[in-house]
């Protein structure tokens, strides 16, 4: 590539730190991280599938699933992806007040999802499904718990973005930070799309 073309590319991309791929290292790193996360969640989902009928004579997660309740939680998480992308869109346009509002709404929807998960775990425990009750319970709590931890970390990232925006540190110029956090948030949503279908909706054979 000629020097003139390379300079033009860097100018068009508005990236003062041009890379060979034309993508910022932070964004590429996030995508590679998400790629490895597929292996983590793949392991947890497979483990649950292998153990889901091993209740050792006790109650199984599939016996006490509350599908209508979990459906509402799933819908809330799905809509948080919309508010996340609206936050990014607003920040990229320089509409910081609107961007901050959408970031806050996204974090709140994430909080509602986590609240629902806490309620679900509590009600399951009251029905006799503890973490060590049987292999099916352990696999279920580990999988959904890991996902919940990911959502919680996402909420922390969203709140730190909101604080940065409040302090004037987050501007239109560094909207890529919002995009990178958004990628993580959407990935967490994608994983739940998979968990909701495979774990909750497909009934035992």
């Amino acid at each position: 590539m000629s020097t003139a073309t390379a300079t033009a590319d860097a100018h068009h991309d508005h990236d003062p730190h041009a890379t060979n791929t034309g993508i910022s290292n932070n964004k590429l790193a996030m995508w590679l991280f998400l790629s490895t996360e597929c292996l983590l969640f793949g392991a947890l989902i497979s483990t649950y599938l292998l153990y889901k009928t091993r209740g050792n004579g006790g109650v199984l997660p599939t016996d006490i699933f509350d599908i209508p309740f979990t459906s509402v939680s799933s819908f809330v998480l799905l809509m948080s992806s919309l508010t996340m992308v609206l936050a990014l869109s607003a920040v990229a346009r320089g509409e910081m007040d609107r961007g901050k509002a959408w970031l806050l709404v996204t974090a709140m929807l994430g909080g509602v999802f986590i609240g629902g998960q806490v309620y679900e775990f509590t009600s399951f425990y009251r029905e006799g499904l503890g973490y060590t009750s049987n292999p099916a319970a352990s696999a279920f709590y580990t999988l959904t718990g890991f996902h919940g931890v990911h959502v919680s970390l996402g909420i922390l990232m969203l709140m730190s973005l909101w604080v940065s925006a409040q302090q004037g540190k987050l501007t239109q110029k560094n909207s890529e930070t919002v995009e990178i956090v958004g990628l993580y948030w959407h990935f967490v949503d994608i994983v739940w799309i998979f968990i909701f279908t495979v774990i909750y909706l497909i009934p035992p054979a």
Binding site: M1, S2, T5, A8, D9, H12, D13, T21, G22, I23, K27, L28, W31, L32, L34, S35, T36, E37, C38, L39, F41, G42, A43, I45, S46, L49, L50, I67, P68, S71, S74, F75, L78, M79, S81, L82, M84, V85, L86, S89, E179, G182, L183, H186, F187, D189, I190, I193, F194, F196, T197, V198, L201, I202, P203, A205
Partner: protein, 109 residues
Amino acid sequence: MSEATAGTETHDVHHPSDWDYVKIAGILGVLTTIEVLTYFESVFTFFETRWILLTTLFVLMIVKFWLVARMFMHLKQDKPILSQSFAAGLALATTVYIVALLAFNFFSA
């Protein structure tokens, strides 16, 4: 791809408007509603047939996954290397764990 093409390929992308995102979210909501309806087999009796149920659920799941990754995560507009790196991880995970499930006779159970 020529150098000239490579230099311009990222500039012709059309970024969706906020209204486009709302429409995509609406589609996702409708797909989720259909998924949840499969739970009520007593009302929608054709979902009692297992292959119809499984096919419906897997198709809906894949469409939702594709919509979020392509539109909300901007894979449609971003450089192909990002789609490729994510697809590589996804394909590796899918292969590894299908082989693991086969090894434990999951599909014959």
